[in-house]
């Protein structure tokens, strides 16, 4: 990533965002605003998941309160991403139930879960590389739009109105993330850091109740990590979206999260405040190592 874009985005994140994000919120008054301004709660009850005879999640239970920023840490292969896949409906848990604001999720297809307002990012980026940045974001708003084949084919009237309206919404987030200059470029040609931001943007524009972030700062340098942390803090505090964050960067989680859950071998080791978790003996033994300061 070139330093100039880095700079631009950093100013956008640190300078402007509070105003802009806050402004984005009231524009959704009406049907969507209810689910938007208040994050949903997430309740994982006794979820187990195994594939090919290998148990990946073993009786996982915890609760994320509405509006909370919740961190999940744990070694590679502990089952963090699998848990996300269970929540977003990609995997079907072998046992247990997941509730989003008291609505059961298990058994719903990923599209149905998305319609409940669950948005996520992926560990290894899952962008549509051939589409440009604004089309990627527009796909984030897919669930909020109505145009079907027939209205689209006729175009004038509803389809066009809707398209214009949502493109303008996306433009705001694009600007907020410092991506305006590259909005027309296919995301495949963007540097990694920018792609990470596009993916976050795509999740944000979908006006989620619950945002699942799978290693949002993996492969980023310290500057970028810092920017991302600030952005997430803003999103959490000003939009009130519930965020669940899987991350290896324990320091980032420590600074950012309200509460943290440590997972090892598919089991919950401890749930608590960041300070409690990083000092927990099992966590130190299995994950952080003895010389963790």
């Amino acid at each position: 990533m070139s330093s100039s874009t880095a700079h631009k985005s950093s100013s956008a994140v640190e300078g402007g965002p509070s105003g802009r994000v806050a402004r984005a919120a009231p524009s959704h008054e009406g049907a969507a605003s209810d689910s938007f301004s208040r994050g949903g709660s997430l309740k994982i009850s006794n979820v187990s998941f195994s594939v090919g005879g290998i148990t990946i999640l073993d009786d996982v239970s915890f609760e994320v309160k509405a509006g909370e920023l919740f961190g999940i840490i744990g070694p590679n292969g502990a089952g963090k991403s699998s848990l996300f896949n269970c929540i977003s409906g990609i995997y079907l848990p072998t046992e247990g139930q997941i509730h989003l604001s008291d609505k059961p999720i298990v058994g719903r297809r990923p599209t149905a879960v998305a319609k409940l307002g669950v948005a996520r990012t992926f560990q290894n980026l899952a962008l549509f590389n051939n589409l440009n940045v604004s089309d990627n974001l527009m796909l984030g708003r897919h669930r909020l739009m109505r145009t079907g084949y027939l209205t689209a084919a006729l175009w004038f009237g509803r389809a066009r109105r809707e398209e214009v309206k949502h493109r303008l919404e996306c433009a705001e987030i694009i600007e907020l993330l410092g991506l305006s200059e590259v909005a027309k470029l296919p995301v495949g040609v963007l540097p990694y850091g920018a792609q990470k931001r596009v993916e976050l943007g795509r999740a944000l524009v979908s006006e989620p109740n619950l945002l699942l972030l799978d290693e949002p700062v993996a492969g980023m340098n310290d500057d970028e990590t810092e920017q991302m942390s600030n952005l997430l803090r803003n999103v959490s505090q000003q939009l009130g979206i519930t965020i669940v964050l899987v991350e290896h960067d324990v320091h980032m989680v420590q600074q950012l999260a309200d509460r943290v859950c440590a997972i090892n071998f598919g089991q919950v080791v401890v749930v608590g405040s960041p300070a409690e978790v990083v000092t927990h003996p099992t966590v130190i033994e299995a994950y952080l190592g003895a010389d963790w300061s």
């Binding site: 090919g52 990946i56 292969g77 991403s81 699998s82 896949n85 560990q123």
Partner: protein, 334 residues
Amino acid sequence: MTGPSTKARQIAVALWLLVSLFVLALISVLADGNDGLEKFLQFVVGGLALGSIYSILALGFVVIYKATGVFNLAQGSLVLLGTYVLYQFKEEYDLPFGLALLFALVLMAGVGVLIERVVMRKMLGKPVFSAIMVTLALLIIIDQIVRSIWSEPGYVLNLPWSSGKVDIGDVTIRHIDFWAVGSAMVLLVAFFLFFERTRVGLGMRATALDAEVASAQGVRIGVSYAMSWAVAAVVATVAGMILTVRTGGGALTPAVGYVALRAFPAMILGGLDSTGGAVAGGLIIGLAEVLVDGYLDYDWLGERFETVVPYLLLLPIMLWRPHGLFGTKTVERS
């Protein structure tokens, strides 16, 4: 590669085949008495022979798929070209059969390498879609070349064992049937040993999974690719030879390539990347085709209903097992 579950599945399919054959035999005996059994056995022989040809055709697809990850739609035209090349050596240049076959196989291996070097190598790293489309184009090009070089009607390929047959009881087995089944079995074993036991085979499998990493580990991926096409072209020639002699009495027509279209179901029924699956799929399709032809002669099904049987059989099985009976599902863990 093949985990215990795959093995179990192979055994299950084999058992299922045997049981259904037995049930069919029982029904035909009940229906027609002793004649029914002979009729049935005759059909089974025919089905196995046809199925073996399909198996050989399918093995040609599998070797390229396993090594390069490309689904080669041009395999049918390799069959076509191989048959005509063999004809050229055997009949036009009047060479003894063994020598003609040897020359044809060597030449076809060269053709395979040439196609890979000149065209397919350049598709590396391009989307799978493009690679498939290129094989489609090759299908047309080779087909047109064969039709224009051998443009006169009435070529006949005479092989030493073209017309011989053996009678066992009232069941007649033609020599060519032995050749069909024998070649299929030999090729199956050879393929298995090659992929599972040799370094080159391992290299080819690694190349198919991730060519870049394979080459970074020292695998000569160019050799893997070229070799797979050479082997496929050789296998195609064998299949074309047996097919021509068995179905047309040696008369050559460009429609030989068309039979390869009917082998597609055989291949994906077994699973694109499974040699055992190719053979099993071929046998299942061949048996089904011959048995349907023999027993089901309802008018409303239409003439030559057996030509659509492979595809009719295929559709429900693919819904049930989208990767074929023995195909590998990619292992995912995140």
